[in-house]
Subunit: 351 residues, 2 copies
C-alpha cells in the first residue's frame, strides 16, 4: 500500500465497514457483519407512507405500497455481495476513495419479488432501453447534487434474477441495508443493489447519470471514458488461521495440521476450482463444497501442515468462464475489481 | 489530525466500525450499527457446550449453562457503550491504534442476569479484592499471548449494575457482540464489557493482567504508569445536518430553520445540560429529553436558523458532577477518553 491513508479516507472507513474475515466460516453472514458502503447518509424512510413508483416508458404507471409488494410472488435467495472497490487500498498508486482492503463482502438470504413481473405489469414500451433504479439517499458527488441512481439494460432487468427485496435474513431490511426496499441483482458488484429504492424509471435511451457516466467505470487515465463496471470477478478469501496480534494483525499458528477454509464466488459463472499455495510451493486444489445457491459463494477447505517459520498462504478461484484471480492486481483510476490472489502471512511457532 | 493513517491502523479500521452519526436519531441503535471493537478474532463458541465457570476466592465454585443463566433473575436495561479510544484519531500527535474519529458509540437494550447474585451464590471469601472476567477471544498484544481479561473491584462487581448479558435487542447476542454471553457494566468505557465471557475468577489481590497493567491507562509518557481508565466522560454528538459530499463528508444545508438533534451521556452522573454553539456565537442551551434509562444517552434538540455561508456547529454536555466537555482534547499516550466538543462544519447554500 502506497503512502498514508488520508483524513477523507479515514472518515469513510469509520462509517463503512467490511466483514471480519473470520466470519467467512458462516454460510450466511451474521447480521451486522455484512459489509456496508453507503454513499451519502442512511435516510429515514416512513414505511407506512412508502410507495415504489414505476414510470417512464411504460404502458401504465404503478404506485406500489410495501403491502402490494409483499402480496406478489415471493422469492428467497442467498446472494453474495461484493463492493466494486474491494481491494482498492492494496493498489499502487492507491486510488483515493473508501479504502477497502479485502473485507468488502457478505452473503445474505434476501427475500423479495422479481423486478421482471413488476415491469411486465407496467408494460415496457417498445423503445425502452434502460431501467433506472433510484434511491432515497441524497448527497453531492464530484460536485453534482444527486440522489443515488443506477440502471440496468432492459434485458438484464427482465432476466428474472433482479429482486425487489424487503427482507434480509428473514427480517425487514435494517436501515443501513435499504429499509424498506432495495434492489438485489445477483452476480453484479454491490453498487448495482440500490438501497432505499423508491422509483423505477424506464428510459428510451442509455442512462447517463453520475454513477454510470462518471463513477463505476474502468478508466486507465483521468480522460479515459472507460468501460462500465458490472459483474463480480472471481475471488476467494480465507479465514486467517491461528490467532492475531491486536495491532499488526500478524497471525500466529501452532505447528501441525491446520485446516484452512474460506469462500469463493464469481458473478460471471460458477466457481469451478479453488487452489491454495503455501510459500513457494505449487498451487494445490482445495476441496469445494456446493454453493449455497447459483449466486452465492461456496466453501472450500484445504489441509495444510504448518512447520515452524513464516509462510505466505495464498488462495485463488477459477470460474467456468476460465477467469482466474491474478497474482498482481489490475490497476484502474478508481480502483475497481481488484481481485488479486488473497495472501495471508503466518508465523508458525509453539504457543 | 496529524500525518497519514498507517497500514496497521487501516487494518483495524476495516474490521472494527463506528456508528454512522445519522443513527443518533434512533433511541436504540439498530442492529449492525452499534460500534464494534474486537481485540483479536471473533471466536466460535458452542452454545450447547457453553459453561460459565466461577472460581477463585469463593466458597463454592459454580459452573453455569446458558439455561442456568436464563432461569435466574432477568433484567432488561438500555445501556450506552463508548469505546475508550473514541476520538483517538483527532489527537495530535495521534496515538497509533484503532483510529476512531467520534463514531465509537451505540446504545442497545441488554438482557441478562445480575453479576451480584451469581457472586453471592458462589460466596466471596473475605480476602476477595478483584473479580476477573475472562473471554474466549485469544491473541497477542504487546508481545504477550493472552485471552482478553478485565477485572472489576469487588465493590463494583457487587454494585448490582453489572450484568451477565445473553441478549441484545431481545435476541441472542450476535457473534460479534459476544455470543453467547458477555459482561455489561453500565457507565464504564467499552473495554470493561468483556465479550464471549466464560470465566469469572475472584482474586485476593489487584488484577495485573495486560489490559489493566499495560493497556487502558492514562499515561502522559511511555514510562508513566498512569491511572486506570474506568467510567465514560460526558459527551454529546449531533446528527450532521443536511446532506454530505460522498468523499469529503462536507455537509450542505439549505438556508432557513434547521432542527439540530443529537444524544448525550456520561458514565459519572446524569447529563444535566447540552449546549450548542454556531460559529463564534454564544453557547446556548439545547432542549433535553429524558434519558432512556439511568445508563443510557438522552436526546437533545436545538433550533438553528441557517444563513448562507460556512458555519462550525458545536455541542457539549455537562453532567451532574460538573464535568463538561473541553474545547480541546485531553492528550495521553494511548489516546483514551478524548471527549472534546463535537464540531460539524456545514456550508449553507441553496440546493
Amino acid at each position: 500500500m502506497a503512502g498514508g491513508i488520508t483524513q477523507e479516507e479515514l472518515q469513510l472507513a469509520a462509517r463503512n465497514h467490511g466483514m471480519p474475515l473470520e466470519a467467512l466460516r458462516h454460510d450466511l453472514t451474521p447480521r451486522g457483519l455484512h459489509y456496508l458502503l453507503i454513499h451519502y447518509d442512511i435516510p429515514a424512510v416512513d414505511a407506512a407512507a412508502f410507495r415504489l413508483e414505476v414510470r417512464g416508458r411504460v404502458g401504465r404507471e404503478l404506485s406500489l405500497s410495501l403491502a402490494d409488494l409483499r402480496e406478489r410472488e415471493r422469492v428467497d435467495v442467498p446472494v453474495t455481495f461484493e463492493c466494486a472497490g474491494n481491494g482498492r487500498a492494496q493498489l499502487d498508486p492507491r486510488p483515493v476513495s473508501q479504502p477497502w482492503l479485502v473485507e468488502a463482502v457478505g452473503t445474505a438470504m434476501w427475500t423479495g419479488t422479481p423486478v421482471r413481473a413488476v415491469l411486465e405489469e407496467a408494460g415496457l414500451l417498445e423503445d425502452a432501453v434502460d431501467v433506472v433504479f433510484a434511491g432515497e439517499d441524497r448527497g453531492v458527488e464530484g460536485g453534482v447534487p444527486q440522489r443515488y441512481e443506477r440502471a440496468l439494460p432492459v434485458a438484464e432487468a427482465l432476466s428474472g434474477e433482479p429482486l425487489l427485496a424487503y427482507a434480509m435474513g428473514g427480517e425487514p431490511l435494517p436501515p443501513q441495508h435499504g429499509f424498506p426496499l432495495r434492489l438485489v441483482v445477483p452476480g453484479w458488484y454491490g453498487m448495482t443493489n440500490v438501497k432505499w429504492l423508491s422509483e423505477i424509471r424506464v428510459l428510451d435511451r442509455a442512462f447517463d447519470g453520475y454513477q454510470h457516466a462518471r463513477a463505476y467505470r474502468f478508466m486507465r487515465s483521468d480522460d479515459d471514458p472507460g468501460a462500465p463496471v458490472s459483474r463480480m470477478e472471481p475471488r476467494s478469501l480465507m479465514v486467517p488461521p491461528g490467532v492475531p496480534d491486536f495491532m499488526t494483525r500478524e497471525r500466529f499458528v501452532a505447528p501441525g495440521p491446520v485446516r484452512l477454509e474460506g469462500r469463493a464466488w464469481s458473478g460471471w459463472a460458477p466457481v469451478e476450482a479453488v487452489e491454495v499455495r503455501a510459500g513457494d510451493g505449487p498451487w494445490e486444489p482445495a476441496a469445494l463444497e456446493p454453493p449455497l445457491g447459483p449466486a452465492a459463494w461456496r466453501r472450500w477447505t484445504f489441509d495444510w501442515t504448518a512447520t515452524p517459520g513464516t509462510h505466505v498462504l495464498a488462495c485463488r478461484a477459477r470460474d467456468a468462464t476460465g477467469r482466474v484471480q491474478p497474482d498482481d492486481p489490475p490497476w484502474n483510476v478508481k480502483g475497481y475489481a481488484n481481485n488479486a490472489v488473497h495472501r495471508v502471512t503466518v508465523t508458525v511457532r509453539d504457543a
